[in-house]
């Protein structure tokens, strides 16, 4: 019905509506996601084998198209767990295995299963914004719903990769499997 109304209006009014869809989010949304990601890293313990890099750093890889990558890059240079955060943009999934955290953009939605498989059982915290990511085998999902960021965590998948997630984080997250 709504579609018919739209067609009718467009045809009778000659009214082209180039509505800008907010599919790519907003800068503020990514500022919030960066803040949330910072606290997530604070609450995750990696196995010692996850860190081979010297000097001690936590590498955060950004995978996919992120129009507001600069909002996530505010984490660059901050320190957590005695390690400096380093944010870098990745050109392919193989580079993600060198990171402790990989943020998978919504542009990678068609390849999510493939990315999850590639990083399966690796000590890499997978964080995404693709709907259903945590249910489909990802570790952490940051989805925008009801005008708020919703945090979803798949504790079992993280455990398989020997990542330990603090109960402090689980307290404010939607946890999978339920």
């Amino acid at each position: 019905m709504k579609f018919l109304i739209k067609i009718l209006l467009l045809s009778t009014m000659g009214f082209a509506v180039p509505a800008t869809r907010a599919e790519t989010g907003t800068q503020h949304e990514y500022e919030l996601k960066a803040g949330v990601l910072y606290h997530i890293i604070e609450y995750v313990d990696w196995p010692a084998s996850a860190f081979s890099n010297q000097p001690p750093t936590i590498q955060i890889g950004l995978l996919g198209d992120l129009p507001f990558a600069n909002a996530l890059e505010v984490l660059n240079g901050k320190s957590l767990q005695g390690r400096k955060l380093v944010v870098k943009r990745l050109s392919n999934i193989r580079e993600a295995t060198q990171c402790q955290v990989v943020f998978i953009s919504s542009s990678e939605k068609p390849r999510v299963e493939e990315i999850i498989q590639e990083l399966k059982n690796q000590p890499v915290l997978t964080v995404s914004e693709v709907e259903g990511f945590a249910e489909r085998g990802g570790m952490v999902n940051l989805v925008a719903g009801q005008n708020r960021i919703i945090l979803e965590v798949n504790r079992a998948v993280a455990g398989q990769s020997r990542l330990s997630i603090s109960s402090q984080l689980l307290k404010v997250a939607k946890v999978f499997p339920r």
Binding site: K2, I5, K6, L9, F15, V17, P18, A19, T20, R21, A22, T24, G25, T26, Q27, H28, E29, Y30, E31, L32, A34, G35, V36, Y38, H39, P67, F68, N70, A71, E73, V74, L75, K78, A144, Q146, N147, R148, I149, I150, L151, L169, V172
Partner: protein, 361 residues
């Protein structure tokens, strides 16, 4: 953000209907973080200092001084608006008519009239696409007269006006988008809660001094909304269609309104606005049997039609932080740049509106 109600003012009696509130950025709510607009290049904020709980409670799309006219799902707005309109001269058509000329044709002339309105506004959005609202006006009218015998009688009326309800349905465009265009369907009605029996010393007052129409009135229309990083603009067309006759054997004329506005976001918390507002209203159909049109031009149902174009400028403020976060203040003043009224009857000289609203989810 100046936000607002795609409102149109309540269905008011003859003079009051010239006095509809803006479909304003001012009083409705809004979302639209201009700086959060897609692909903005402004320096990103570092929010890592906030706690995880606070971050998860922050709005992805914060409201700001630019206002839209609808709300997002589960959004509420409560608002109060004060309006004042002053009329100090008589016109017939576009021509100003002196008091002595009116007195040469009628035994009484109106020398001034003021209209005040206090209005409570409530809005709620059950979904992103639908916002419903209610407006409850309290009206105070004052009128000064001069008779051919030199007396200067004063009359006033006050009370609840017609309560208005409206649904705003998003037809085109994304209500959550930071930039772009939208088309909104307005579907409203007013209930005849305002008195049309206002009198002084047992004498029925003029049509323009009554507080309600006495009829159920329907208000269909469309609103176009546009928004960019710094600007919000829009246009609205609304009809007020009367149904049937009231208990005093008349109904007010149908009304047509078109307005267009432009708001500029100077900062997140302040923005000026300009607006053009066109009203046209038809004559009264039927007649109150106790009002003699030969005694007073404001008693003549055939002399109650008119049209007017107002130019208005506004200042809009938004409180982005603290315990008043979500509160908007606005003030808007204007003058008619064109008036053509059946007469001789009172014509508008100037008007001012102040509004405060609080939006929350």
């Amino acid at each position: 953000m100046l936000i607002a109600a795609i409102t149109m003012g309540p269905s008011l009696p003859v003079a009051a209907q010239m006095f509809a509130p803006r479909p304003d950025p001012i009083c409705t709510t809004f979302m639209g973080d201009a700086d959060g607009g897609a692909h903005t290049t402004s320096q990103p904020q570092d929010l890592t200092g906030l706690s995880l709980e606070d971050l998860l409670h922050e709005e992805v799309t914060p409201i700001n001084v630019l206002g839209s006219h609808t709300h997002l799902k589960n959004g509420f707005m409560v608002g109060y608006r004060y309006m004042y309109m002053e009329m100090n001269h008589n016109q017939e058509g576009t021509r100003t008519v002196s008091e002595s000329e009116v007195l040469s044709r009628y035994p009484v002339v109106h020398t001034s009239m003021s209209m005040e309105m206090h209005m409570a506004e409530l809005m709620y959005a059950p979904t992103d696409d639908l916002t419903v609202m209610a407006m409850i006006p309290y009206i105070i009218n004052r009128m000064h007269h001069l008779t051919s015998t030199g007396e200067r009688p004063f009359a006033s009326s006050d009370g609840i006006g017609d309560v208005e309800f409206m649904a705003l349905y998003n037809l085109l465009g994304d209500p959550r988008a930071m930039e772009g265009h939208r088309l909104v369907l307005n579907a409203g009605f007013t209930a005849p809660t305002g008195s049309m029996d206002e009198s002084v010393n047992g004498k029925q007052l003029e049509y323009s001094m009554q507080l309600g129409s006495g009829t159920w009135d329907f208000i269909p229309g469309f609103t176009y909304l546009g928004q960019s990083r710094r600007f919000a603009w829009g246009a609205q067309t609304l009809f007020t269609v009367r149904s049937g006759f009231n208990d005093r054997d008349y109904h007010l004329g149908n009304k047509y309104r078109v307005s267009a506005w432009l708001d500029y976001k100077l900062t997140d918390w302040f923005g000026p606005s300009v607006r053009l507002d066109w009203h046209a209203w038809d004559k009264i159909h039927g007649a109150d049997p106790v009002l003699d049109p030969n005694r007073n031009p404001a008693f003549d149902p055939n002399k109650q039609a008119g049209a007017r174009l107002d130019f208005l400028a506004g200042l809009n403020f938004y409180v982005p932080n603290g315990f008043l976060k979500g509160t908007r203040f606005s003030v808007e003043g204007g003058v008619p740049v064109y008036q053509n009224i059946s007469g001789p009857n009172m014509a508008v000289d100037w008007m001012i509106t102040g509004a405060i609203s609080y939006t929350f989810r």
